[in-house]
Structures are given as structure tokens and as C-alpha cells.
């Protein structure tokens, strides 16, 4: 199964019943699959007039009580940024799949690049925190989309599935889990008017007063208090918002942003990778181990909030760190900051950006690092 198709299956399994889209490559197959699956589940598939409208309708649908998602690629992701900030501000659960392609601008529509990593974190104006997951396989496209919904519902926040062209278009075996075995999280709904009134800015995430239940919810992208009441001039109000919506995510970094360690216990050299780069890294570790090189892999499954502590601990006994990214080093500063003192960090993009890392090329750098 293709990664994009797996993403759609994951979304529906997670309970997604509203999907809005504007046509763009390489995310198109997600929409095709959703348009087939959703009507059978009495869910809405709609093609909007642009990506701004797509994310806008998704947020509207979420407030009307449905789990909702959109999918896009770089140019559309840029257009969505203002409303992603609105979703952050109004604590609206929703999922945005960004199948990264080569940019800037129109770029190359079907070439892999990890060019939107910083945009995913800081793309909307103002100060905030966000969750972004990085799938490395078609299987991940399914399971991480489910996880994205669970996290968005739990923390009442938009969650970004930061895929790339390679994992989206790759076809490989996908195990579809039994429905009963899935852990599905849904937002808490207030059980009383009193509970519904304090609908925002709780460090422990307030229940969501979805529309049509008599809660008279007041939802605004303007600065507001915990009752949703507009407080458009007091700096103290926006101070509280910025700190609370950031803290509710950052304080759960360990649970949200998972890492995976492969053969790091005895390693002196570590590759650090996420997204499609993980695939090359896994192969190189295997090849290098065959040569007797003590190399391991630290895989980042969640990029934002950045798992600083986990990275720091995983690299505690590593001397040489090689960071693989398909860009000019967007996550590198975070990794360098987290790496323990005494480790030497090398950045290794592919020889040609927007292609995959050549295994021999990475292996050569691993051998050199091991000999340092």
C-alpha cells in the first residue's frame, strides 16, 4: 500500500469524519482515498476553493463536533499558516498532513525535501508551541496519523503530520491493525454549563464546548481569558495565553515526541535522522555493523516539541554524531543544542538536495567518523 493511502486509512480509523482539501501534489492520493472512504462512514469530503478555506472549514467542523483533517504540500502549507495559528489560539483539535516537496515556491512537485520543518514549528505569526510527527514508512503514515488525531484531541491543538514525498509515494507492506486493538482518544466535552464556561487556557486542557449543545461557546482568535471573553488590550491576557498554550504541550514533550534508539548501546558513532532519511540510516547502520563499526541510529519520530532531553540522554556516550536531513540543516541547531558536551556533530545532507541520501555516501562518512 502507498503511504498516502495508508494515511487516509489511519485517519478514518482514528475517527476522522471531515476532510477538506485543495488539489496539490504530492498529497493527492490522500484526498482520493478519503473521498472514497468518508461517504461510506457518513463523513464529509469537500474540495474547497483554496487551502485557506480547507483549513478554515476543518476548524469549523471541529467546533461542530467532528474529528477533522486536511492534507497539503509546501505551497498549500504556507497558505494555511494563519489559520493554523487560529487553531492554536482557539485550542481547536485538527490534523494537518504536510507532504513536503522541494521548494521554495512551486519548486519540484514530486521530489522529496524536508524543507518545512521550521515552518511547521514557527510558520504562523506570534508565539506558540505545536506538535509535529515525522513518518518514515507507509506503516508510519497509518499509525502516526492515528496518533496525530489522538494527540490533537488530548491536547486540543492542531497536530502536523510532517511527511515527505518519499514516504507518501512509497509502496510497501502495511499491517492494518484490528479496530479493537486501536487506542482512540476523543476530546473531553463539558458535563455542565459551569464546566463549559471555563473553556480555554487550562494547563490541564479544558473540555471543549462544541457547538449545538447549548454551551454558548465564545471562540475568538483575539486575546481572551479562560472564559473566551475577548481581552484585546491587556498584555497580561496575551502573556497568559502564550505561556499556557505553549506549556500545555512543552511540559508533555516526553510523551508526545517519541524517539527510537537502534544499536546505540555500544555505539561510538550515531546517525540522527527523521522522516525518509531514517530508511537510508537504517540500511547504513546494518552495513557498517557488518564491517564491525560501532554505529547506531537515533530516530526522531516527533520533531516538535523537540525532544531535547531524550536526544541528550541517547547521545550521552556517543563521540561522533552525524545528522541526516534533506535540507540545509533545519533541525540541526536543536540537535546540536541537545548533544552532550564533548560530542562532535557533523551535518550531512544528500549530495544533491531533493534526492535521497546515497547509502555509500553516508557509509563513507560513518567510516571516517569511526576512525576519528
Amino acid at each position: 500500500m502507498q503511504g498516502n493511502e495508508a494515511c487516509a486509512l489511519g485517519a478514518v480509523a482514528a475517527g476522522c469524519r471531515f476532510f477538506a482539501f485543495y488539489p496539490i501534489t504530492p498529497a493527492g492520493e490522500i484526498a482520493e482515498k478519503m473521498s472514497q472512504l468518508l461517504p461510506k462512514a457518513r463523513g464529509v469530503y469537500i474540495q474547497m476553493e483554496d487551502e485557506i478555506a480547507a483549513i478554515g472549514s476543518v476548524i469549523g467542523a471541529s467546533w461542530a463536533g467532528l474529528k477533522a483533517m486536511t492534507a497539503t504540500s509546501g505551497p498549500g502549507f504556507s497558505l494555511m499558516q494563519e489559520n493554523i495559528g487560529y487553531a492554536v489560539m482557539t485550542e481547536t483539535p485538527c490534523v494537518i498532513v504536510d507532504v513536503q516537496r522541494a521548494g521554495p515556491s512551486t519548486g519540484i512537485v514530486s521530489a522529496p525535501m524536508q524543507g518545512d520543518v521550521v515552518q511547521a514549528r514557527h510558520g504562523s505569526h506570534g508565539e506558540y508551541a505545536i506538535i509535529a510527527l515525522a513518518p518514515s514508512s507507509a506503516q508510519d503514515m497509518l499509525s502516526m496519523t492515528i496518533r496525530a488525531f489522538n494527540l490533537s484531541e488530548q491536547y486540543r491543538t492542531p497536530v502536523i503530520v510532517l511527511a515527505d514525498e518519499t514516504v507518501a509515494h512509497m509502496r510497501e507492506e502495511v499491517v492494518i491493525p484490528e479496530e479493537e486493538s486501536l487506542r482512540i482518544v476523543s476530546r473531553k466535552i463539558p458535563s455542565s454549563q459551569e464546566e463549559a464556561a471555563r473553556a480555554f487556557l487550562s494547563p490541564s486542557v479544558a473540555p471543549m464546548p462544541v457547538f449545538g449543545r447549548g454551551f454558548s461557546a465564545h471562540v475568538t482568535g483575539s486575546s481572551h481569558d479562560e472564559y473566551g471573553k475577548r481581552e484585546a488590550s491587556a498584555p497580561e491576557a496575551i502573556d497568559k495565553i502564550v505561556r499556557t498554550i505553549s506549556e500545555k504541550i512543552e511540559s508533555h514533550t516526553a510523551e508526545i515526541s517519541e524517539t527510537e534508539e537502534v544499536l546505540l548501546d555500544d555505539a561510538r558513532v550515531a546517525l540522527v535522522a527523521y522522516g525518509s532519511c531514517v530508511r537510508t540510516a537504517e540500511y547504513v547502520v546494518k552495513r557498517a555493523r557488518e564491517k564491525g563499526i560501532h554505529v547506531g541510529l537515533l530516530r526522531l519520530k516527533g520533531l516538535w516539541p523537540f525532544p531535547s532531553r531524550a536526544v541528550s540522554e541517547a547521545l550521552a556516550s556517543i563521540r561522533q554524531v552525524i545528522v541526516l536531513e534533506n535540507n540545509l540543516g533545519q533541525l540541526l541547531p536543536e540537535i546540536e543544542r541537545a548533544a552532550p558536551a564533548g560530542t562532535e556533530t557533523t551535518f550531512l545532507p544528500p549530495e544533491t538536495i531533493a534526492t535521497l541520501h546515497r547509502p555509500d555516501y553516508v557509509l563513507q562518512h560513518v567510516v571516517e567518523a569511526a576512525n576519528k
Binding site: K40, M48, S57, A64, N83, P209, G212, S216, H218
Partner: protein
Amino acid sequence: MITEAESHPLAKYLRKGAQPHTHCAGCGNGIVAQSFLRAVDQAGIPMNRIVCVAGIGCSGWIPSPFFDVDTLHVTHGRPIAFATGVKLANPELEVVVFTGDGDCSAIGGNHLIHAARRNIGVKVICVNNMIYGMTGGEVAPTTPRGIRTTTTPFGNLERPFDLSKLVIAAGGTYVARWTTYHVAGVVAAMKEALTRKGFSFLEVMSQCPVHYGRRIGITDPVEMMRWFQKQSITLEKAREMSEQELSGKFVIGKFIDIDVPELSQLYAEQFKVASRESN
């Protein structure tokens, strides 16, 4: 002590603690607000079934936060897009958009024409004051030619949009235009919009004495409403007038009211087909 606001027969529709309102003295928003609550009252629609979606601009502050309903106050230009999601996600809800001429015809023009084309059952109340009021009186796509605004100090060179015509051309199934002088027309049109299924567009020409009136030499709000009265031509009369004779006039009345299947109902029908085909 009972305040004046609480003793008003429509006070039950207002959110507690949201007063005082924030509109300038003489603004037409108060008339639009009261007209809407009267229409809701007359139509007998329970407030817990209404969702108001507000854009950015003075018009957005009509429902937000003053009406005691679920309110989604969104980004500039996008309320119709958000409202489309709300309506499709829960077609039982009565989804009403409060927007302005800048919000729905400049930055949000694309969403307006596509919602009209889709015939999504969202009711759009566009308060057209022919200027950007909230940001300081800049020229709008609805500002007549020649008007001097804060950003057209030598006169506006562009031709204004006729919003009602635009929505009709885009496939709108209900389009009406009234002014804040014609309160009975506004209330009746709102009531009609609230009790029909399809996409409905009501354009209310409204006075902004602070930013627009000043520019045309009418700073008194009542005078501005008298000006609306003088400049308004009924649809019937307008049919017998030339384009030139109609220049600078406000054609008022109901332009179109036709029965076309509403989008969320079409979805409901397609769900049945899709589930049959999957069996």
C-alpha cells in the same frame, strides 16, 4: 437594579456580562444587531441551534461576544469558509455569518462566490459601509469612484463592486439588499433567510459616520440614514431606469429567491448511496 439593557425585550438573547458594546456612536451595527435578534425572535429559532461566525472588521463585533449563542470569531476574510465546515459537520445548526464588505469581497471574495455556487445552507449578513472602518477609513472594493479616503487622498480610481449582483452571478439562490433606514426590510429578509434552507446573502448598507460619512460630508448618523432613504430605489422602479440614472443609488429589495437543493442535504442523500454501494 434592572439596567436598561436587561429590561429590553430582546435582552434574553444577549450574552451576560458582554456589555457594554464597542461600536462607535451612530454606527449602523446596532440596527443590524437588533434586526437580527428580532428576526430570530419572530422566526422562533432557539438560540442553542444558532451558530454565529464572525469575520474581522466592525461587523464581526455584532454577534461576538454580544449574542448568547455559539460564536466563532475567525480570521480576516474567512468566516464563510469556517461556516461551511460548521454547517457540513452539523447540518442541524443554523449557521449565520456576520461579515463586512472588505471581509467578504476583498480578502474573502473567493469564499463568498464559492459558497454561493455550492448553495451551502449558510446565511451571510454583509454589513456594507463602503469603507474599512476598523483600520482607519481605507478605501474598500465597495467605495464609489472619486471618494477621498485615508488611502485615496486624491480620489478613488477604482470601480466599486455591486455585491448583490456578484452573488447572483455566482449562483446565489437568495439575495436581498436593504439599508439601515429600511429596518422592516432588513428584519423581513433576515427572517426569510433564517427559515429557508439554501445559501442566503443579505447586504445591509450601513452608516459609518466616523470614517465614511465624514468623507462625503455627512457626519450626523441620522442624516446618513436619510441619505440612504433618498438614494434608495426599489427593485421595481430600478428596472425602468438606465444604468446612468442608477449611478450612486442603492437598489433595494429581494433580487432572487429560488429553490435549489442545499449542499448538506445532498451530502445526506449521497451517504445513503455510498453505504449501499459499499455493501
